[in-house]
Amino acid sequence: MADLDLIDIEKHFGTNWVIRKLNLQIAHGEFVVLLGPSGCGKTTTLRAIAGLEEIHSGEIRIDGKRVESLPASERDIAFVFQLYSLYPHMTAFENIAFPLRALRISDKEVREKVRTVAKVLRIEHLLNKRPSALAGGDMQRVTIGRALVRRAKAILMDEPIGALDAKLREEMRVELRRLHIENNSTTVYVTHDQVEAMSMADRIAIMNEGVLQQVGSPTEVYSWPANLFVAQFVGSPIMNVVNCRLEAADGATKVRFDGMQTPFQFGGEVFRRAAAVGHEEIALGVRPEAVLVELAERPGYVPGEIHIIEPQGAYDILDIRIGKTVVRARTRSRFVTQLNQPVWVQLDKTRTHFFDKQSGLALPGE
């Protein structure tokens, strides 16, 4: 297994930039997820690491050695695609064994290696079956087995479970993470699904329009998003982002949404941080679980009205109208049951973010 180093990588098609000045260091044994919407450059980055895509400038280092000019076959990297790409005429065993056949090792050794991988993937009982006889999840396990069996320097995966149904995806997430822990293989995983990224990654690298937005642990990108894009791309239900007006008053900051009578009270530092940036346009960001809801009036809470109730089973999401704005809050199931019911709302100050609307960046000093 190996370290991967991406230094100032750039790629463009004509004037169309696919990757811009991308810098990312992936440590030996780390599971890094490249996350972003379609067209953000994540797959191109992955393919560049694999050697399936040329870059226009920058360096790619595997264990310190530059590989940009090496063909894919000489980089010793395994690749798993979304489509299973198995040989239909071979059994699962033969498919997994295939990369070993080129290595001139004994049949006995091949059998042992395949069995070890199959055991980890829980497909020992399927080894004699052909791909056409396998279910989707099992086919993907075989594909992953083929990538694992030869112990490449790194494993790259491009939306490997995107085509599976919701329940199977839930299981595969756990299995893939588990597999990573057992094999300790350097893994780069591409997805547009923030749930996959959050649940499997050691670190998430979030991309948008070819530009790396933030790199951090799931907790970091969730709790301290660097900008509005990350704030709203990570987390479901998505973070509330509301335009607001700030007003300094007696060492405190009054925060008002559009059409709001009573303001939220924040500490004086909020106003100072906003003033330091010098922009008037500030957006407040707060996740639904940091919107606190009470049925009776309380000091520090502002009045709101229930617009919609969205039950999720284990909890409810309430769309609450405050002034002309709708804010979503997470509450226990059936905390509120009536539409248009008045409620009182407060924001958890330690989990409320402020962004400069012009740059999209979180205000410094959080």
């Binding site: 149904d165 588990r178 822990i181 699904d193 749930v195 499997m200 907790t219 239900p237 996740r287």
Partner: protein, 363 residues
């Protein structure tokens, strides 16, 4: 708007039964969701209501009328599909006007303008009226498609997975937007989806379908908390409910085949005795939020996996070769492979029949 009654609806395609003796009573102004996996018969049911399929037997009533023999056009229902099916070369305005100019309706010209304007304002696309639809974003196109249904002021809205082509973030916004719209219009709406989150968050009631059969009709709360069988229990809710088979041994539950056991609280024992009858083996269901980590006297296991979802952690715990899923606060920090102990919130345990898969408390 109108109510909708389906009575003993049957529809097959060759040897394949798509809809099996389906009866359903949808109220006026209700947001009703037909939920099920691919091939469950939900789209066929919707198409029968719309008049695009003819059922072999059964009755379809919209309001006071038995409409089985009415053409699709005469039923006065508006259908919104997954594909937006807009006219790409036309402006938004023309797309919205189109249904009002059809031969059947042919509204006087002076009524068309205001109706289009009103629908556009409701959907917040009034500023796009003169734009061509091929210049719109996915969310805008979907709004126009819905707008085209609204302008007609039909008796019934039918929607077939209208949100499945848009990305996750937009889907979330459109969900609450559509629900808000339906409440505002007081519309009767039948909505087909395979996405349980859509069903839970939007429906007044959900009808869960599997292999052509309507398994349960209930509010989101009922469907989630009292699933009629194991299919509904596992189809609704994410992360999925834990299910394991267990023998009932006097005062405790023994989970098979890889054994682990736990004592039943008196109230749970009484509840199980009441429903289990002479069964000595049942399938136990428990949702991840009802599996709690405890410091002592719990079931011993090891942490198999931990997923950080930001708002909470989803833990997978291995207990005697069974994998049990639990949710826990976001601050939980336990290393993988560490020993843990868990306990079930026993008042939340479900018991199902092994053969029929039915919930014993419901059957």
């Amino acid at each position: 708007m109108a109510n909708l009654i389906l009575k003993n609806l049957c529809k097959s395609f060759g040897d394949v039964v798509a809809v099996r003796n389906l009866s359903l009573d949808i109220r006026d102004r209700e947001f009703f969701v037909l939920l099920g996996p691919t091939g469950a018969g939900k789209t066929t049911t919707l198409r029968c209501i719309a008049g695009l399929e003819k059922p072999e037997t059964g009755e379809i009533r919209i309001g006071e009328n038995l409409v089985n023999d009415w053409s699709a056009a005469n039923r006065d229902v508006a259908l919104v599909f997954q594909q937006y099916s807009l006219y790409p070369n036309y402006t938004v305005r023309k797309n919205l006007e189109f249904p009002l100019k059809s031969r059947l309706r042919r509204l006087p010209a002076k009524e068309i303008g205001p109706r289009v304007q009103k629908a556009a304002e409701t959907l917040r696309i009034a500023h796009l009226l003169d734009r061509r639809t091929d210049r719109l974003s996915g969310g805008e196109m979907q709004r126009v498609a819905i707008g085209r249904a609204i302008v007609r002021e039909p008796r019934l809205f039918l929607m077939d997975e209208p949100l499945s082509n848009v990305d996750a973030k937009l889907r979330e916004l459109l969900r609450s937007e559509l629900r808000g719209l339906q409440l505002k219009l007081g519309a009767t709406l039948v909505f087909v989806t395979h996405d349980q989150v859509e069903a839970m968050t939007m429906g007044d009631r959900i009808g869960v379908l599997c292999e052509g059969e309507l398994i349960q009709v209930g509010t989101p709360y009922e469907v989630y908390n009292s699933p009629h069988n194991t299919f509904v229990a596992s189809f609704v809710g994410a992360p999925a409910i834990n299910l394991f088979d267990a023998t009932v041994d006097g005062e405790k539950i023994v989970v098979v085949p890889e054994k682990f056991e736990f004592a039943l609280e008196p109230a749970t024992r009484a509840r199980l005795n009441q429903v289990a009858g002479r069964r000595n083996i049942v399938r136990v269901g428990v949702r991840p939020e009802h599996v709690n980590l405890v410091a002592q006297d719990g079931l011993a296991g090891t942490l198999y996996g931990a997923e950080d979802h930001g708002v909470e952690m989803i833990l997978t715990i291995s207990v005697a070769d069974h994998l049990i899923r639990a949710t826990s606060p976001a601050t939980t920090r336990i290393p993988v492979n560490a020993p843990v102990q868990l306990a079930f919130a026993q008042d939340k345990l479900h018991f199902f029949d092994l053969e029929t898969t039915k919930n014993l408390a419901v059957a």
